[in-house]
Symmetry: C2
Subunit: 879 residues, 2 copies
């Protein structure tokens, strides 16, 4: 049997998202729930993939299926596609498995031509409406299908308005619009060098192809990369009978959420416009009315809509985001989906749905996107500073959080400045999909136009970037790169602050402070702890970070990078002496200067952790990272060491490496200079003894981690150095301190020989950053030069340094876990690479049986939630 | 039951080499063959390892076993150890599993003290003999056990000779020697601060410990590293009743081979000395007589010895190397082992043994050490140049081959100069184990003293380094760093030439030429081809190397590095233009200049290979390797390209990489600049079409190899570029050329995902050089700084770049082979890293099922033999 590429709405259901896309599957589901859905059909995601396989053509068999379904749709609606009798108009919309709002293309009012528009005009007795539809269709089709930009047509509209001496589109009458339609078609011919297609079927195939194509437009590719959506998913195409919200005062269109997507409050939330098509609401061009107003305007419709909302939420057990249209007094549902929401709303809705008995704790945890929590961990305004600040304007609180930075007026500048380390606020008349990347780099987004469901608002919420929208008081002059607000001129580079939770705009710099965990956040985090199997530790090199992490729920330190302690000014000179030593004795003398400082650092760390595990990694980077480059520093060092400048320079140049990443570093330093490891061991052990004496109630058991091991005998050698040094101190002090010695697994060979290494190691900690570099054979510092081409050519779909490459690096991790347990039954397994804070990687680490993940302090809550979700999805025995 | 650590000779046999060491096992075997062996016992290699485990002490249980066996030996010999009645003297010798001649320590005449020596003097009626033994024993014991150097004692001898006004040791009489013994003991006390041990048991335990210790002396460690002997094998200790070759004119000692170890000729070969101990022969101090002379001197003994030789060879089915001693007219065998031999001898003996019906072809192949063939492939003197040259002197042809280079006088200088790229001849009075490393770096070794079995001769033969020994005409002045020969002064740095096959020495530079394969070499190579399962290809980038390799039996090219072709002067400027291009067009223009040259190169290569497979690897190194560094070159390039010097410099600096090894190179260049791969494809395909037209009888099927692949989609992308370009040309030319596209497996991730990659690759070629670097996480260029410490601390036992690390890198190779076959049933598997020419690695590649190995031309015969040996040892189905 040949594959089925086209489904009527009545042939599908909500579970068929992979095949029908999210929008299509939900339209099918609503159809099966007998909700008022304009009927239509869905061309599957498989058809999209086949389109690409067939060198960007629609195969004959798919074309035939489309024709058959058009026939069926004609029967369902009693209308005829491309006919002048009772013409069927359709919308053509993209719809991929995951929601990608605004990323791909839509065409409305398809099926119109010079004859059909006249029929519509007569039938509706509304020629202005008919020609408004027609000119919109020509404009959209030209833009989407033939890439003739909207601006060409907008110029013609402006010209027409100037001729007529009017300001608003709505002041143009039916004749003006009819003339415009004619001029639009001429413009089309002018640009495309052929007539505007009048045949409905040609229009339809052109539109479908355009939607398929739009799957690979740069916006969509960027969005997918940012959201980890594979390029091979493809998009479905929804062809649906048109209903018209712009057919007079008894019509309208709107979008709504069953609950407040900004706060999570359980009340209907949304906006609508009378006599408008959907794009008018979403684009933020006209400022719409709140959904609650609908009760006054059309009480019956409102009642019906509220009922539908309730049953949709009950059916999907989640907050819904819906589009609807009212045509001539009749309500139609055009879309429903689980609504995007702020992190705060996400937490509240999950807690509320649980309280309302709709879902379990486990389901509640799954309702929250871990990455979103990031927004809650971002700085908020410092209360005192905020009290002193002046509110310059107040607009729509579109995406919560506080942002403070320098004004920029376009996405490119935002990206550029942010990459230079500056904090920026992107100020725009309104945002468009082209701005997405710039928005992700900004501290906040401020728009002049648009409501809570405008493009800026939706995208910013999704990103966790704060946003204030619809600040109409702003007069923006993009050319001069400045804006005026309340008589004050802000130029590019001036500071402003915005509060996406209140909608307030401040014309000044306001101090921000870190967030804390309380309320629903705390509830959810507690549930996560109840459920998760993985422990969550933190990567912290100083007591400040460590304390923050503990506040966020860290159960210990998974990685303390001791070299970070070496760079402080008073230490670096001793380090340099150590490096430039000729003899073991000289080296030991320099190390003696460093030892008390290291010991002090460790004491503070143990104090901060109050008895929780502290894993200390011994010196890792190559020594040349520490040597001076400035002539004056070299001279100074020569003086201190009683050597000639020449000698020092020779030592420095002898440290040069061709490939420092693969050079003399990590445990290799201990093999050549055991005295370094001895010093670090003394510092770790003495600090633990001292703090244990001060706090006998804590059970301090230092974990000493040897980096860059590639061979069991190498670890054995280093471990003997460590154990000999440690045991001597412990014996001398007459205490009974326990400590562990283990290793990073960050070299492929270590993973491959983990059974042997485990015989020497009490724990493994996967250093997935280096492991990724070695496994892929590229250095993170150098890969920038070619990775762009890799993303463009779809060779890599995501950044393997951000998200674990389960297919390659993951195999090594899995093998090492299995071998490690073979070598030592009770080996402790953790991860301290950046992947330890990334949800999909955490799920993988849960599945392969790690004991803990360790991540940066601000990722700890994310990791806790991700760990809990992993346990819900893939339960494993807990210790 | 507790472990047995000590075995009487009569308790062992020849198969117990692992436990008893080679010497011990063979002494046991000879004992069981009823040959005249002085009896004794063996302390096992396990005891040696236990000695190290027990912190360098001999455990009580082992000491008890030694005592018991001394008792048994006393019974067997009827003598008493440490007694003045009928005193038993013993020798204590090392003996590891593999023969390590001269590497470890030996002590003779143990059991002597002031009383015992008198008993011996009386019993033998030869007081001079007794005291000669005694002073030798004190000297050896001091040196070996207490590290009091021999030179202290030699000074005393010299002093004594001066007092007496004599020149030779033999001119000293019994009283002199008695006095010397006394002085030696005083010297000992002086240095060691205690009395020389007079108790025999103390002497024995001291000597045994010293032998155990000598397993880890620097000479032994270096020898093991050079010969891939694991450090955990340990050495056994042989304690054997002394027989005395220095007990008058009816006594003697010698060493002999059953066949000529230099030529392989089937006639007894060796030397002996009358009235001497073994060390006198081996040390090369006195010049001995040829073994054939023994027939005249002691006809009965000679007859007996010849019989023993015959039966030993028959028993072991191999040429034997034996030590014997004649005590007072009675023959004793002290050692037998398979004799070291030159490569030429090795081949002849293997062929002869087969012809004599003693062994099969398969056994014959196993008799030859593949690495040894290297010597035969080394240059010989050019015949014409040799005819013109003047023979300055003629001495002993100790190790065959021709060597020409600059004179050096010590091992350190030899190593230094050789590392600087100079060819050197090491000239020494006589060599000692300390010289081994220097010898391995020299083109040849010339000694003043010593015979065919002297240290220099034995070691040089083992290494395949040519050697002329015993050139007594030389007057060497090591201090002035010069020697005089036939009135001519040679200073350090002057050229000489030596011929280790004739013994000739030339005071000039003589041209050398490459070797060819003929005679027994050819026979053995033909047998290897009959038997081996692996194909052997070569790594060659030019027709000259390729032809040489085909002469040596290469069955195709396994790796042609195209970038080597880029460095020629006329090409590099076009390459630089290509690199400094701003646009695809500029780049394509530059590539067009290179294309005809590349095509020409490939045509010559196809011609040279006459239809055999040619595997061409596309551009691999990062582009910055090609850019100019000289200011003048930069200015020139700027001029050619019509750019400013500034611009060119910016481009060059933008190419800088932190870790070039893991940077923008290999297939990554094709992903960013597909036009490079397109040009190379055109050159490969057009060349193949042209040569096919000229030679329709050859079936040319180019293999295009993509380097540095880490992901299937990456290969898919590059393959599409290649296939599109190639197919267009083939179609345009209207020919039916076949070609293959495959990849290197040199990145760990490629090995881990080889099933996916195999779907895109028609062949894999393991790039084990890079794979080793990535798997170990160290770069070959940088590892030098720490690998020495790794060898010293016995963390690594061998250089993983020379010999495949089967435990780590090998696992990836194995996994990739299995996955590769899963992904594509008929995938062709090869290796082109340097390991492809290393015997133990070849055995591994055979076992994991590769189709071919590829190595440098001079390694091809070695690889053929190693491949055949692998098939004999581990037979697999042949295609």
């Amino acid at each position: 049997m040949s594959k089925k590429y086209v489904y009527l709405f009545s042939e599908g259901n909500g579970k068929m998202k992979e095949l029908l896309g999210g929008k299509g599957a939900n339209l099918a589901e609503m159809t099966s729930l007998n909700m008022p859905v304009p009927q239509g059909f869905i061309i599957t995601t498989e058809a999209c993939n086949k389109y690409y396989e067939d060198s960007n053509t629609i195969s004959k068999e798919i074309e035939r299926e489309i024709e058959e379904n058009i026939k069926k749709l004609e029967k369902l609606t009693g209308k005829e596609f491309g006919s002048t009798k009772n013409p069927l108009l359709v919308s053509v919309r993209s719809g991929s498995r995951a929601s990608m709002p605004g990323m791909m293309d839509t065409i409305l009012n398809l099926g119109l031509n010079d004859e059909v528009v006249e029929v519509i005009a007569k039938k509706t007795n509304n020629p202005r409406f008919a020609y408004d539809c027609y000119r919109r269709f020509i404009q959209m089709y030209s833009d989407v299908v033939m890439e003739v930009g909207k601006n060409y047509f907008e110029k013609l509209i402006d010209k027409k308005k100037a001729q007529k001496g009017v300001k608003l589109d709505s002041e143009l009458d039916y004749k003006d619009l009819k003339e415009l339609a004619k001029e639009f078609k001429e413009e089309y011919k002018n640009k495309v060098k052929e007539d505007f297609p009048s045949n409905a079927k040609d229009q339809l195939l052109g539109a479908i192809k355009a939607v398929f194509r739009s799957w690979n437009n740069p916006r969509a590719i960027y969005y997918r990369k940012m959201n980890d959506i594979p390029s091979n998913w493809g998009t479905a195409v929804n062809v649906q009978a048109m209903v018209f919200g712009n057919n007079g005062e008894n019509s309208g269109t709107g979008v709504a959420f069953t609950r407040n997507p900004a706060t999570g409050e359980n009340s209907l939330y949304g906006e609508f416009l009378i006599n408008a098509q959907g794009e008018d609401v979403v684009a933020g061009v006209r400022t719409p009315m709140a959904i609650s107003e609908l009760e006054n305007v059309m009480p019956e419709i409102y009642k019906e809509f509220v009922e539908i909302c309730k049953s949709l939420e009950k059916h999907y057990k989640d907050m819904q985001d819906m589009e609807f249209t009212i045509e001539d007094g009749k309500l139609y549902m055009l879309q429903t989906r689980s609504g995007k929401r702020t992190a705060q709303a996400s937490l509240k809705i999950a807690c509320d749905l649980y309280e309302e008995g709709m879902i379990s704790k486990e389901e509640a945890l799954l309702r929250i996107e871990p990455k979103q929590l990031d927004a809650l961990l971002h700085p908020q305004f410092d209360k005192e500073s905020l009290e002193r600040a002046n509110i310059l304007a107040s607009a729509i609180a579109a995406s919560p959080g506080a942002g403070c930075g320098k004004v920029v007026f376009d996405a490119e500048t935002a990206i550029k400045k942010a990459k230079e380390g500056e904090k920026v606020i992107l100020v725009r008349l309104e945002t468009s999909p082209e701005d997405i990347e710039g928005m992700s780099y900004a501290e906040g987004v401020l728009t002049v136009r648009g409501g809570k469901t405008s493009h800026a608002a939706v995208v910013a919420r999704g990103m966790g970037v704060c946003c204030v929208s619809g600040c109409g008081e702003i007069n923006i002059n993009e050319e001069k790169r400045e804006f005026e607000l309340k008589g004050k001129i802000f130029k590019e580079g001036d500071y402003i602050s915005i509060d996406g939770s209140t909608g307030n705009v401040y014309g000044e710099k306001i101090k921000t402070v870190d967030a804390t965990i309380c309320g629903e956040f705390e509830t959810i985090m507690n549930w996560a702890n109840e459920i998760k199997a993985l422990s969550v530790r933190t990567n912290a090199d100083n007591p400040r970070d460590a304390k923050k992490a503990v506040e966020f729920g860290a159960e210990g330190i998974g990685l303390c990078r001791t070299e970070h302690m070496f760079f402080e000014e008073e230490r670096i000179s001793a380090i340099r002496e150590m490096i430039c030593s000729d003899t073991v004795e000289e080296r030991e003398n320099a190390l003696k200067k460093i030892e008390p400082m290291q010991q002090g650092d460790f004491e503070l760390l143990y104090e901060a952790l109050e008895g929780k595990s502290v894993n200390i990694r011994f010196l890792d980077p190559p020594l040349h990272e520490f040597v001076p480059t400035e002539e004056s520093d070299i001279i100074q060092l020569a003086k201190v060491m009683g050597k000639s400048v020449e000698e020092i320079k020779n030592i420095i140049s002898s440290l040069h490496e061709f490939n420092p990443m693969m050079g003399h570093r990590g445990c290799r330093l201990t093999v050549t200079y055991p005295e370094i490891a001895k010093m670090q061991t003394r510092a770790v052990i003495k600090a633990a003894i001292n703090v244990s004496k001060r706090h006998p109630e804590w059970e301090i058991e230092p974990e000493i981690m040897i980096p860059l091991i590639s061979e069991a005998k190498e670890l054995k050698f280093v471990k003997e150095v460590v154990k000999k040094t440690a045991d001597e101190i412990i014996e001398k002090e007459g205490v009974s301190l326990k400590y562990k010695v283990g290793t990073m697994i960050e070299i492929p060979r270590a993973a491959l020989t983990a059974d042997e290494i485990a015989k020497e190691a009490e724990f493994f900690s996967f250093g997935t950053n280096d492991l990724t570099q070695m496994t892929f054979g590229f250095s993170r510092d150098d890969a920038g030069k070619f990775l762009k081409s890799y993303y463009e050519n779809k060779i890599y779909e995501f950044d393997p340094f951000a998200k674990l490459d389960q297919n390659g690096v993951g195999k090594l991790v899995k093998v090492a876990c299995e071998l490690g347990k073979k070598g030592r039954k009770d080996i402790v397994l953790g991860v301290c690479g950046e992947h330890g804070g990334e949800p999909s990687s955490i799920e993988f680490f849960h599945k392969v049986g790690l004991d803990y993940v360790s991540c940066s302090p601000f990722r700890v809550p994310i990791a806790r939630l991700a760990a809990a979700q992993a346990q819900v999805k893939f339960p494993r025995k807990k210790d």
